[in-house]
Symmetry: C2
Subunit: 325 residues, 2 copies
Amino acid sequence: MGVTIKDIAKSAGVSYSTVSKALRDSPLVKEPTKKRIIELAEQLGYQPNAAARSLVSKRSHTIGVVWPTIERAAHAALVTRLNKQLEQLSYTTLISINELEDAVKTFNRYQVDAILTFEEGTSQTDLDTLVPMVTYGIASGNTPYPVIDANRHKAIKAAVEHLIKMGHRHIGYVGDMQDKDRLQADKVSGFQSAVSSASLPVTGRLIQVSGLEQYDGYAAVKNMVQQHELPTAIVSGSHDLTKGILRAFHEQDLRIPEDISIISYDNLPQNEGMEVSLSTVGVPLDTVAEKLAEALMAAIEEKPLESAIYLEPELKISGSCRQFP
Amino acid sequence: MGVTIKDIAKSAGVSYSTVSKALRDSPLVKEPTKKRIIELAEQLGYQPNAAARSLVSKRSHTIGVVWPTIERAAHAALVTRLNKQLEQLSYTTLISINELEDAVKTFNRYQVDAILTFEEGTSQTDLDTLVPMVTYGIASGNTPYPVIDANRHKAIKAAVEHLIKMGHRHIGYVGDMQDKDRLQADKVSGFQSAVSSASLPVTGRLIQVSGLEQYDGYAAVKNMVQQHELPTAIVSGSHDLTKGILRAFHEQDLRIPEDISIISYDNLPQNEGMEVSLSTVGVPLDTVAEKLAEALMAAIEEKPLESAIYLEPELKISGSCRQFP
DNA sequence: AAAAATAATAACAACGTTGTTATTATTATA
DNA sequence: TATAATAATAACAACGTTGTTATTATTTTT
């Protein structure tokens, strides 16, 4: 078993309460004593016991992330960044891949200071937790916990409006339309909203894909080409779809932006490794991570949080769109 | 703050030690009392405090998984399965995506009962932990902790030997050959070992890919076709590569197994959604998860563990291989 | 140089739980 | 019925830490 402050105390010839204070850098301990104790602790390989600490202080300095669907890698990059953010705030991130309810139970037992959940498709039932909870998903008013919403609706809408402004009249949206997945449905509604509220007549076509992987984007384009139904501009619902779409364009000798324009929904900072300089719309991942961290901190401090926090998507236009005709 | 055994005790009119015993189903408490207390606990929404519990019992019933590279999804399926396995053993899994050293520190603080690490490419330095550690990777003798090894060498070797036995004399291996990644290097060495120890003259070609994604497999085949260097059989180093390879075959109107045979390295139980019934070799994921769980439990019980545990890969031959010529 | 003020350290209670020991209530034995 | 044996429950210490209060050592003031 590990080294405790009592061991250090004995070794330093002081009381254990002095050790505790020295290690927490309290001004109640004389500087030389403090230094001696800290060095000794280092030397003995002291690791504070989180159980004891959080038992008495009621704070664990830990955030629990509930992520039952790690196999769908959707949030991997976000979690990585959030982990870094929280680390800087000297919080530790712990992940559970159990179902929401079990995960929350576990985290309750562990006395995490706050819990982050992802809304993954279906909306979640409310459950009782002792600690503040924050959700990354779609704001809908009736959740008991604050929801951070990347405003996918607004993002896609902005993309479409931009294309319309550039003269495009036939625009396609490649994505998932099954309205079970609220994240995807939100994007679709953004597309439809932009098309229907356009002052000029615009044809908006929804191209349903069966999944959100690279291959699905590829197949969608191949299909459109076969049916001779290619729009002049495409909005893609996800990064992976876009990769497939670009591959298909390439194979069909369709040039971007000469033959077709494209804007991709994306959170990633820049799309390295892409053949073309891609126009994107979405809230940058770092912003999302930052806002989530902020919301979690606020929740811990028991600051009142609005039940819905909408993040502002950014439209980044580069080489993949052109004026039409 | 939450409900404690003291609250339950007060509510039930018994001492808190009786509550503790009742909830742990001790025979020292009379059956009706026990029942009453358990019901009351349920009703009050009692959640045991993990900090207090592990402080006194020195056991947290938790396994820490160190997984700094979640963005590479390689182990997602395995972790999911392991999580289930451990759940059945009434252990909770907690994941940290921090760097090994930090993650171990965190888990030490949390007094997890054991730690699992993944060997991801480079071998790991040894570090001091208070709790038993197990690694999933490549056995190499000099690690201080037991390594569970899926025996990729043997797997690939078996695949190649099978192909040789079926008459193939020109066999290609599609995979990553940079010897920084020991997991991949192990497969390559299996390939080379099979080729060089064949009793008949066999041409073994290594086809280097730049990554392990679907696209890389696709590109590898396209390249081989262009150079007119197609072998009669291919061994693929990963599931994703295989998907790309199959796509490329399809596009080139290469038929499996008529024109070319293929065996894929794989841990997944069955390759659903594949066009052809694929031959695979590898340790099934469930077996890996099971063995990892076993090793962790043994480590906790302080049973002496061998420093290297080799798992037995399974060769599953189906439609994608044929006798040659 | 004695008293008062302050700095430094030590002692102690508490957090919620478990395991051990002490007490009380019940039943069995003489 | 009194006493021994046993069953049921209560009391208590301990786990490693923090925050508060008590004690001792040092400095300042008169």
